[in-house]
Symmetry: C2
Subunit: 370 residues, 2 copies
């Protein structure tokens, strides 16, 4: 039992929704009291930073005193732990954006001219965010074949994107930007996220208004939300930014990066180990950018980093990159190979973060293609 972590979740137990903190891989403690009356984390998220701290201290004491009912995680069905308000997906890994640019625009610059000036992002579909463990139905849609003919049918290039999601607790007022320094006042915690992507649908639809059906069929998040207060030992310096960001994006000397080590497993085989510390834009910068135009935040807003890809080939966070657009199949231990996902494939993303007494293990996010 690692009391340094205690991530929050939600489960159906005997037909009733119950809020939980995870104690170890197999056990969780039930949370009671007014903040958890509906079994979700919504009221806790809305309560603000001071309450996050006091509630956490109380829960930790109660766990130490063993005064909370313990459930066996094998016996319960974990559900989406909070109500997702708006979902935004960024594109904050320089290596990922470079890889995609090289593949899709081989004759141009890999990065678009705006990329190092602002964290590029777009809104996704919050109604199709699902909890880890939910089966993912292969989407159908339009695509354009190699000879330019329009095709319709199940996606032939179904992919993953290994990402980290930031969960907003405290909202903000319309018309009032949120500064980089207000990050920990608004963001409650993080989760792991798999932004399932149908590359063939996406490639045909995305000009000029961006990804739509290629992404909107499902986005999986981990069942456990790790509060920022469990990540005090995980902050690290982000990469040097050149050119220097505009003042509203300047995180100064702050250690705004997060040293999370992700792993992507396909049918049990580790196919990638993306290092989150390499992300060019930090969560604080994403938050400041998302609100600089006056857009307000709501409790439950979820914003994700975009695919996490490190500089090495075995650190890429999507199969598009790992197979270099399908050119280089990925070898699995059963002797088979993959370029994109086959029906029945199961993808699990895990991550660890430095903690005061050794690494903590974030809740994983997994899904099987059906």
């Amino acid at each position: 039992m690692n009391l340094d972590h205690l991530p929050y979740g939600s489960a159906m137990i005997d037909g009733r929704r119950v809020a939980l903190v995870r104690l170890d891989d197999e056990h969780a403690a039930q949370l009671n009291g007014p903040l958890f009356a509906d079994g979700s984390l919504d009221a806790l998220l809305a309560a603000g930073r001071d309450t996050w701290a006091t509630t956490r201290a109380e829960i930790r004491q109660a766990v130490e005193r063993e005064s909370l009912p313990v459930v066996n995680l094998a016996d319960v069905a974990l559900v989406l732990p909070f109500t997702v308000a708006d979902y935004v997906d960024f594109y904050a890994s320089e290596q990922h954006a470079t890889n995609v640019g090289r593949m899709f625009r081989p004759d141009g610059d890999a990065l678009t001219p705006n990329w190092k000036h602002l964290p590029i992002g777009y809104h996704g579909r919050s109604g199709t965010v699902v909890v880890s463990g939910t089966d993912i139905k292969r989407p159908q849609g339009q695509a354009r074949g190699a000879e330019g003919a329009i095709t319709f049918g199940p996606s032939q290039r179904l992919d993953i994107e290994a990402e980290v999601g930031f969960v907003v607790g405290t909202g903000s007022t319309l018309g009032s930007p949120v500064s980089v320094r207000a990050f920990s006042e608004h963001v409650f915690g993080i989760c792991l996220l798999n932004d399932w992507s149908a590359r063939d649908i996406q490639a045909w639809e995305y000009v000029p208004l961006g990804p739509f059906l290629g992404k909107s069929f499902a986005t999986s998040v981990s069942a456990w939300v790790t509060p920022l207060s469990a990540l005090n030992f995980a902050w690290t310096a982000p990469p040097e930014r050149d050119p220097k960001p505009l003042p509203y994006l300047d995180d100064g000397d702050a250690t705004c990066g997060l040293d999370l080590q992700l792993e992507v497993r396909l049918n049990g085989d580790v196919i990638s180990r993306p290092p989150f510390a390499t992300m060019y834009w930090t969560g604080a910068q994403m938050l400041a950018h998302m609100t600089v135009n006056g857009a307000s935040l709501r409790t439950g807003d979820l914003f994700a980093s975009g695919t996490v890809s490190g500089p090495e080939r075995d650190q890429f966070g999507s199969m598009l990159e790992l197979s270099w657009g399908g050119r280089d199949p990925i070898a699995l231990s059963d002797g088979s190979t993959r370029t994109f996902l086959l029906d029945g494939d199961e993808v699990t993303i895990t991550a660890t973060a430095p903690g005061p007494n050794g690494p903590i293990t974030l809740g994983d996010v997994s899904g099987r293609i059906v």
Copy 2:
């Protein structure tokens, strides 16, 4: 008093939220009963098509019997009538897409290759959808100046987009596409919508993932939702589609277009009269496309048509088009001119639809720049 229309809204009266139907320009009747207990339209939307019909018949009878409390609209503050779940914005006017393509890609084809194959759309920010009458704060953000220098400050090219929004009542299951023929089973009604747009912010940010901060600062919707049942005389044949849409987008011989006549007023002057009947893609096609990948619908989902622009110059639905990118200033009756919006400017979009006893007037959507 026109009983053919009876659009639904919501207001704060004596500190309490109350659901209403509008009787005429100055009066509304209060709605009571369990469906309207929270003062919003949320429960009615979720109740489904049969309940929409029976409730409407009951309300009409009650209005005729004068058994509902009547309020003077001058005395109440109208609020957002339903909880917006996901907000999607389409790009369904051929004239608008052609105009924008000519301005932004003068050396290429005006329409992108996908435009006539699918209704292009993207997700917007549902948390910043505001009710008509809400002041619009000019957004700040990054842009790229004429010489390529990055600038930061208030948008200098603040614009409108005159649109029609479709309000989803009945949700759908993840993994199950909704057909064009199920439109009236899922869509409760329509509203007018102004998709405020900061063209300078949008131009710099939108490649490759689409509009983000250029749109997310505010989207205004009319305070009144017109149910489809008030639009029985407004259906019309959409324009001929060439090439023939794929089967899932084929609305056959159906009269799936809507003959709405919009008007855009700037500080009281009519600057455009966009005809909604010219829209290339219909609401039923947007709905079918949005869900063909298996994406689910939720009660309160809002999807908008995109800017409504007719073939004539005085039918364009944005100032970008009316001023042709700022080249041709728009003359106002006070002797001033506009290319984009100035502080203090007020924009109001109105619309009429054919009814059984003459045209009905949709609830307008207005906002002032501050």
